[in-house]
């Protein structure tokens, strides 16, 4: 138990950040290809061609798809079948994100919120963002890494509706948020939606929604139906890739829910840009690391 070498977590955290920036997940590539094939507007087709070229060049040259290295987010799932040291994991994620930045090297996008001084490490007080979760049936440490760019994150929104507003108000809010964001979040991306919970939980749910592989539906059929309805509605606006007009305005709408207060009806939208970057690794107690997306 005491023999686990936490340098493995640090190295994995570093590799995950670099890999997420350079190697888009297969589901995202597939979704862009499908969108490009379906698109009929000439300008939009040209935009999709450039997106596909950017993915290929990043593969060939082992370089970043997008220059916005974002803020590092690690979503951690601790298997309770092994004694993982949470404090140690937290430190290693911090070091891993910092080393990725300095050793690749790529731009540090983090900064002090008041002095605006960039530590040149991508980390700092409160960064990386770490989400903690637990799994009973596993002994592994699963880490999902998302570099969140600002073009899309700046278009986030949240609202505390009241029960009298109904589900209608939520759907309208999501659609209106998309239209208001327009060209800025580099569409067509994943529209992450949180419904329910508290003011902070609903925002987190929206972020978890963008972490899902493109088009993986919510297991609740009613919510899955709402995802499809919203996708159709968003595509029907004609905002198109990069907001320049076209048939495809989103790759997918993902909704995550939580129970909420009897007096509350909260909703949050977190947009993800078309290079919907993420990388996953599963670390076993014997030190073996499996890489995925």
């Amino acid at each position: 138990m005491a023999s686990f070498d936490y340098r493995i977590v640090e190295e994995t955290a570093k590799q995950l950040y670099i890999r997420a920036l350079c190697d888009l997940p297969p589901d995202v590539r597939e979704a862009i290809k499908k969108a490009a094939a379906r698109e009929t507007q000439p300008t939009a087709k040209e935009v999709f061609k450039a997106m596909l070229a950017a993915i290929d060049i990043a593969d060939e040259k082992k370089t970043l798809v997008c220059q916005d290295t974002g803020l590092p987010i690690y979503m951690v799932k601790i298997g309770t079948g092994f004694h993982w040291d949470g404090a140690e994991i937290k430190d290693r994620l911090y070091e891993g994100a910092k080393r990725a930045t300095q050793e690749f090297p790529f731009r540090s996008s983090s900064t002090h919120p008041l002095t605006r001084v960039n530590p040149q490490t991508s980390v700092g007080q409160g960064l990386p963002v770490v989400y903690w979760d637990f799994r009973k049936e596993a002994d592994t440490l699963e880490i999902l890494m998302i570099p969140k760019g600002s073009g899309s994150e700046n278009m986030s929104s949240m609202k505390m509706f009241i029960p009298a507003d109904g589900v209608k108000a939520l759907k309208k809010f999501i659609l209106d948020a998309f239209v208001a964001a327009g060209s800025n979040p580099c569409p067509p991306g994943i529209i992450g939606v949180g419904i329910g919970g508290t003011a902070d939980l609903v925002t987190r749910l929206a972020k978890e929604a963008i972490a899902r592989p493109v088009g993986h539906r919510n297991p609740d059929p009613e919510i899955a139906k709402m995802e499809l309805e919203l996708e159709d509605a968003i595509n029907a606006t004609g905002i198109g890739p990069m907001g320049l007009g076209g048939d495809i305005s989103t790759l997918a709408v993902h909704i995550e829910t939580a129970y909420t207060h009897i007096t509350q009806n909260p909703v949050a939208v977190n947009t993800q840009c078309w290079p919907a970057r993420r990388a996953r690794a599963t670390i076993h107690p014997n030190g073996q690391v499996e890489h995925g997306y």
């Binding site: 000439p42 300008t43 040209e46 935009v47 061609k49 450039a50 997106m51 070229a53 950017a54 993915i55 060049i57 990043a58 040259k61 370089t63 970043l64 798809v65 997008c66 220059q67 916005d68 090297p105 790529f106 731009r107 760019g149 600002s150 073009g151 700046n154 209608k168 108000a169 759907k171 309208k172 659609l175 239209v179 327009g182 060209s183 800025n184 580099c186 309805e229 919203l230 159709d232 509605a233 029907a236 606006t237 004609g238 905002i239 198109g240 890739p241 990069m242 907001g243 320049l244 007009g245 840009c273 078309w274 290079p275």
Partner: protein
């Protein structure tokens, strides 16, 4: 939709021929600017050490490395433009910039300056930095190096694009058109979604 290949510096005539929806590629010089570059230039009143006349400027904060005293690109991408809107009219009027390259578009005051002095906004595909970086042949000069990664960069580019003319010198704005179209479609979309 016309396809146009240009060479820098751009003449007013060449720029006035462009219409929204045209696809542009170009060769030559490209200047990289960002929020801080323009705060330094306009708010802190530093004259650019190089002429920008007839040139395109891109909204970027590049990742560069210095190899044997020479800058080389690691990753050069484009940032969202609206933050730099207020610097655009003086950039066009005072320094003769003929094209702003960015993503997301600019506001009416920039469109007015483009109309008055003959300039365009060219929309790049945001997020496609790997493609952009490949089209940069050389980092020719970094002026105001102390501001890096928001200094003033002089790049030499080849076949830079595809760029969509999103705001032209005749008062047309593709973003405005697309948004107006979306707003016109919304009542029907609301109805279908059951939220009308």
């Amino acid at each position: 939709m016309a396809r146009v290949h240009l060479q820098t510096p751009f003449s007013e005539e060449a720029i006035r021929q462009l219409r929204v929806g045209d696809i542009v590629h170009f060769d030559g010089t490209l200047f990289g600017i960002r929020d801080l570059t323009q705060i330094y230039m306009f708010d802190q009143k530093h004259e650019p050490p190089v002429s920008l006349k007839g040139m395109p400027c891109i909204h970027t904060a590049p990742s560069l490395k210095k190899v044997d005293g020479k800058w080389a690109p690691i990753c050069v991408g484009t940032t969202t433009s609206y933050r730099m809107d207020r610097f655009t009219p003086p950039l066009i009027e005072k320094y003769g910039v003929r094209a702003i390259i960015g993503k997301g578009g600019l506001y009416e005051q920039s469109l007015e300056a483009m109309k008055k002095f003959g300039a365009v906004y060219l929309a790049i595909v945001g997020g496609a930095a790997s493609l952009e970086t490949q089209q940069i042949v050389e980092v020719e000069q970094v002026y105001w190096e102390h501001l890096h990664p928001e200094a003033l960069y002089q790049f030499r580019v080849k076949d830079f694009g595809p760029l969509t003319v999103a705001m032209d010198s005749h008062g047309n704005n593709l973003y405005r058109e697309v948004k107006a179209e979306a707003m016109a479609r919304l009542p029907e979309v609301y109805r279908k979604l059951g939220v009308a």
